[in-house]
């Protein structure tokens, strides 16, 4: 049944809703795979009443900006890695802790548990933005232009780009590297000119950003694992009819598996593509991960109390 529009008329046209969604990544990226599924579900479940309009490559701004825009209802929806969310809800910085998750399954279990729900609730409270579902951005793997990195001693003195984030800086200091905070827009040029030697990102992004033009080596060091979030402006969500709210929630839930599997598939394919582009890729079992983990213990000693030592242990052993 149709709801009455503000001027009292009842018509099909007034029920049509268009939602804009802003992606920081390009068409065909892992983010897009999830969003396309969400769009398909949304339009199917709503019989075409809800339309999703997808904008790529930061049309609406970077990750911090789009969240802020959703908070004030300037933008309906966005996807983002967890990086920017710590600005609102400090607990999200926990995903910057190294070696928090063993693998995808471990991460998914935590996202889908009450831990994921609590984080989302806190974020909704402070940012005025609703997290609809936890997708994945997987591990940020290390690429560099100097040598194959197998052991922590290989990164000594390496100028590693980190996000503007103290946990990441501390981690790379603990490794003996030279962490350099740098805006995302400067990373490619920085690598090209040697202002930085190395960086970490999902393989799919290393591919779409063409880092293979300026980097030779990739190490699948399972260090940082981040969720990737599908979000909607809370005021926008609240303005939808009950029926449409249900549809949005359902479509988001239906997209989760597809988005996660889509990421895993692209991540695997990227390995082959990057090899074809001439990169040397070290698999995880070819790396002395423990040598890195040992150094990273000091990071836990410093930062785990910030989130609660017991809580972090619970997440690590979930």
């Amino acid at each position: 049944n149709k709801e009455a529009s503000s001027d009292g008329n009842v018509s099909a046209a007034t029920d049509k809703v268009t939602l804009d969604i802003s992606l920081s990544l390009a068409e065909g990226s892992f983010a897009d795979v999830g969003v396309q599924k969400f769009k398909e579900e949304l339009e199917k479940l709503s019989d075409g009443e809800i339309e999703l309009k997808v904008y790529y490559n930061n049309t609406f701004g970077g990750e911090r900006e789009v969240i802020e825009m959703m908070g004030i209802n300037s933008l309906a929806m966005a996807t983002s890695s967890s990086g920017a969310l710590g600005t609102w809800t400090q607990e999200f910085n926990m995903f910057d802790l190294p070696y928090l998750f063993r693998d995808h399954e471990h991460a998914y279990k935590v996202f889908d548990s009450e831990i994921g729900e609590e984080l989302a609730a806190k974020f909704e409270e402070s940012a005025n933005v609703k997290i609809l579902s936890y997708w994945t951005a997987g591990y940020r793997y290390l690429s560099n232009s100097i040598k194959p990195v197998k052991h922590v001693s290989d990164v000594a003195g390496m100028k590693q780009r980190v996000q503007e984030n103290q946990v990441q800086i501390d981690t790379w200091k603990a490794y003996g590297a030279n962490p350099t905070p740098m805006a995302w827009t400067e990373v490619f040029t920085g690598l090209q000119q040697g202002v930085i030697d190395s960086q970490s990102n999902p393989l799919d992004s290393i591919n779409t950003m063409k880092f293979y033009e300026v980097q030779k080596y990739v190490s699948k060091l399972p260090e940082l694992y981040q969720p990737y979030l599908l979000m909607i402006s809370k005021p926008k969500f609240d303005s939808l009819s009950k029926e449409h709210q249900e549809i949005v929630l359902q479509a988001a839930a239906n997209s989760v598996d597809h988005a996660r599997k889509g990421f895993e598939k692209l991540d695997e394919e990227a390995t082959e593509i990057l090899k074809e582009k001439g990169m040397e890729i070290l698999e995880t079992d070819e790396i002395d991960v423990d040598s890195f983990k040992e150094r990273a213990e000091s990071v836990y000693e410093k930062w785990a109390p910030e989130f609660g030592v017991e809580f972090i242990e619970k997440v690590r052993n979930f």
Partner: protein
């Protein structure tokens, strides 16, 4: 009435002088922080996580306050075609219209700028730990200085006979 206006102008003059010095200090701090960042990385081999962010925030303040300051000095860039074609009296009338239209924008900047400072309060900048409130505050602060200086310019134009 005339006394009140003269006092208003003197007050705005002093305020702008102070703003001028604040601008000088802020642009110096920006230079120092970023140069320090270069030194830290190149010479000391360790990076700073706060320098880039705090300098960026200072720049936002410089731009908003500095633009309002420039307005008073008549230095904001405009298409100065129409005023050239008008008589003195016509110029005065035009100034009133230009000021009224501009005021609408300055008021938007002030009111909605203030509203947004409220909604970003909870955001904590990652590098400095500063609440984004203090950064966005540049919008309403600049907006108010714009408004004060706009009235200053109108009064100045009409008092000068």
């Amino acid at each position: 009435m005339k006394l009140v206006l003269t006092k208003y102008m003197a007050g705005v003059d002093s305020l702008n002088r102070v703003i001028g010095w604040i601008l000088a200090i802020m642009i110096s701090l920006m230079s120092i922080f970023i140069f320090w960042q270069v030194l830290a990385r190149k010479v000391l081999g360790s990076s700073l996580s706060w320098s880039e962010e705090i300098s960026r925030f200072l720049m936002v303040w410089v731009v908003l306050l500095g633009a309002a300051y420039a307005l008073k000095k008549g230095e904001l860039i405009a298409v100065e075609l129409l005023p050239e074609l008008l008589s003195e009296k016509g110029k005065k009338i035009l100034l009133v219209f230009v000021s009224l239209f501009s005021l609408v924008f300055y008021i938007i900047l002030t009111i909605y700028g203030w509203e947004i400072t409220q909604s970003v309060k909870v955001q904590i900048a990652p590098g400095t730990g500063l609440s984004m409130f203090w950064v966005y505050l540049a919008l309403p602060a600049g907006g108010i200085l714009f408004i004060l200086n706009t009235f200053y310019l109108i009064i100045e134009k009409f008092m000068k006979k």
